[in-house]
């Protein structure tokens, strides 16, 4: 129940982020018991590189405090969508925070927004969307995969977010977004293998006063097809971009400074042998040797209000007629 708002103390049932080092971050549940793979109720114990953690002991601790482990210590943090993205169980490829951030800004999501997402995937983006729309907005999220829908629903409930989200199984390419959402959405997010099949349905779900759309695709062919459909349907400001984040490690390097001047005069180099080698310190920040080189292309567009769509369709026809000439 720990995703809704700011908390100070860990309560039973909370999802808690356990921080050991910057590369060792985990999520655990503050519950005394858990169900083993074999379906038996057992003590909820989380094994860390610094010893075991009895999760029941977390209850009552302050978020942001240090906790002891048998061979070291860690810190407990209230989960945020960003920390959840880092630690969630992967059921699919997930969308990461740099892309999520740009999606939120570009879709102009704020408290009160009605947002439609498909597919739900592992719920990485969903949590950030919910934080942004609550308490007065709502997220409708769809996935064609039954099990993913079930698991996402359980997670939203465990995280105390059920009031702000509706999750359902649905193949939006085939069936659209449903009559009950007709002209209700401020924005639509698509992460689908064939987004261009779902795009025509977004005309029905977006408000008559217009809205924003985003399609996330790993391959350029998906982008090429989607942009073609968006243009034909009268979307404007069709824009494709990529955001690649680099995370730096701050380091103080020690560079030896060679003393070479003495070689010009000295007859025997031996007296300098004993010299301490001079060293300069150099504060720098280095990117990791291997970094993400690609996550996906983000294609954004605006659906104009109904009163401006025809004009936009004719404008787009001019834009793209280069191919027809």
């Amino acid at each position: 129940m720990s995703f809704d708002g700011y908390k100070t103390t860990i309560e039973e049932g909370d999802t808690v982020i356990l921080y050991l080092t910057i590369n060792q971050v985990y999520s655990v549940r503050a519950e005394a018991k858990t169900t083993s793979k074999k379906g038996v109720e057992v003590d909820n114990v989380f094994q860390t590189p610094y010893g075991a953690l009895k999760c029941a002991e977390l209850i009552g601790k302050s978020y942001g405090s240090k906790i002891s482990l048998s061979k070291g210590w860690g810190y407990v943090m209230q989960p945020t969508p960003e920390l959840w993205t880092l630690t969630l169980p992967h059921r699919t490829q997930i969308i990461y925070t740099p892309d999520i951030s740009m999606i939120l800004l570009q879709l102009e999501i704020k408290p009160g927004s009605i947002v439609v997402e498909s597919g739900t995937g592992s719920g990485s983006l969903s949590h950030a969307l919910i934080r942004s729309v609550k308490p007065t907005g709502h997220l409708y999220t769809f996935d064609f995969h039954e099990n993913r829908v079930k698991l996402a629903d359980i997670e939203f409930s465990q995280h105390g977010l059920s009031d702000y989200v509706t999750v359902a199984q649905r193949d939006v390419c085939d069936c659209g977004f449903g009559a009950e959402l007709q002209n209700r959405a401020d924005s639509v997010f698509l992460d689908l293998p064939h987004p261009w099949q779902a795009i025509p349905h977004t005309l029905d779900v977006i408000k008559e006063s217009g809205g924003r759309i985003c399609s996330f695709s790993p391959c350029i062919e998906q982008v090429q097809k989607s942009c073609g459909v968006l243009s034909k349907l009268g979307f404007q400001e069709i824009q494709t971009m990529e955001v690649l984040q680099t995370s730096y490690a701050v380091q103080t390097k020690r560079l030896p400074v060679l003393d070479l001047d003495f070689l010009q005069s000295e007859k025997d180099g031996s007296e300098s042998k004993g010299k301490e080698r001079e060293v300069v310190k150099c504060l720098t920040a280095v990117p990791p040797a291997n970094m993400p080189g690609h996550t996906g292309y983000l294609t954004f567009a605006t659906l104009p209000p109904v009163w401006a769509r025809n004009l936009q369709i004719s404008l787009n026809q001019q834009e793209s007629s280069g191919e027809l000439l």
Partner: protein, 396 residues
Amino acid sequence: MEDNAIKVGDFVIVQRQGYTKLHKLKEHGTLSLGSFNMEMDNIVGEKYSDTFQMKNYPGSKKLFTLEKVDEIPSVLSINIEKSGADNRNITDDGQSQNLTTEEIAKLKSEELNSNNIVGKLITNSRTFNEKTEYSQEKYMKKKEKKYFEYVQIRRPTIRLLATMFYRQDPTKTLGIRSDDLSQIITYSNVQAQGTHLLYDSGTSGLLPAALLNQIGAQNPAHLVHVHPGNECQKSAIVAMNFPQEQLARCINVNLYSVLRCFYQNKDAYNSEPQCKKIKLDDSAPKKPGWQIENEKACRLLEVGVDSLVVAAKEHPVSIVDQLVRFLKGGRYLVVFSATREPLQDLYNHLKERLDFIYIRIVSNFMRSYQVLPDRTHPEVNMTSGGYVLTGFKLVS
């Protein structure tokens, strides 16, 4: 449903092709857009996202009125007689256009009609018919852009403002690009509750507007917006046309002034439950607005804040050191800098403090694409973004 009518007093974004400009709509106001001057009265009462044609004002070369349109004739309906197979025989000697600059200016001042002007330019070009279809199209697009006579009226949003300010001049937002802004918002975990503290030494109001937008309308959350000058920069805040109750929850205070109040005037802001006292004692000398704001801010700071965002021209260490005292444990610090080095210093400083974990410095490579049939490639111009440091404060 929101009201979509354009009203006097609104801030609107006027868009002509890729160019955008922010404008406050007054009665009988005009707007200058590049070399054009437009009377804006005709857009009042029309709807956002409507498109208007710039019509030449009789007797004036540069003044235009706006007329609402529902369709735009295509420049490509111009009949092209002939195209070359490739450009192999074209030698560009800069003399292929028969029309003089003066003749073109005259065309423009008679009637701004890109279709008409482009047609005339083509007829008078000696090489147009020898160009490839691709080159012909490129030429027409370029000319159409120059003489394009339509503008669209947009409602300002954080996205549009961030893009517009950065394009106009990155220093207007201290170098904060849209990707930087987007991550400042997520990493600070700002949402529709709690109190949020911002130090901003000059982003044209973009950062406070973006945070206030995330805080949202009709809730009890606050933004304490601290600035170093006499007046804070407000362009983006006013441009957003926020409702009054939301705007009132953005408390703008001077850095020195609010800290002095906090440390040296504790009695003032602790004892007075603001509104009542003023009503009771109407004859007492009225406090200046800035003092009331300071006291409001101090009462919020006393309780502690749920995020601290810093975007400073100055070295961030001493500013962060002061303001981070108000940050509750278990909450996030986010600091933006256009260069990496000050954040490296801050990184080492926070490491030494021992009450911060999960300290990271990130930057982004952001790339836009042209996606067109057979002509898809990354945009040929690129900008470089800034750096964002994030850290998590432990409870003491």
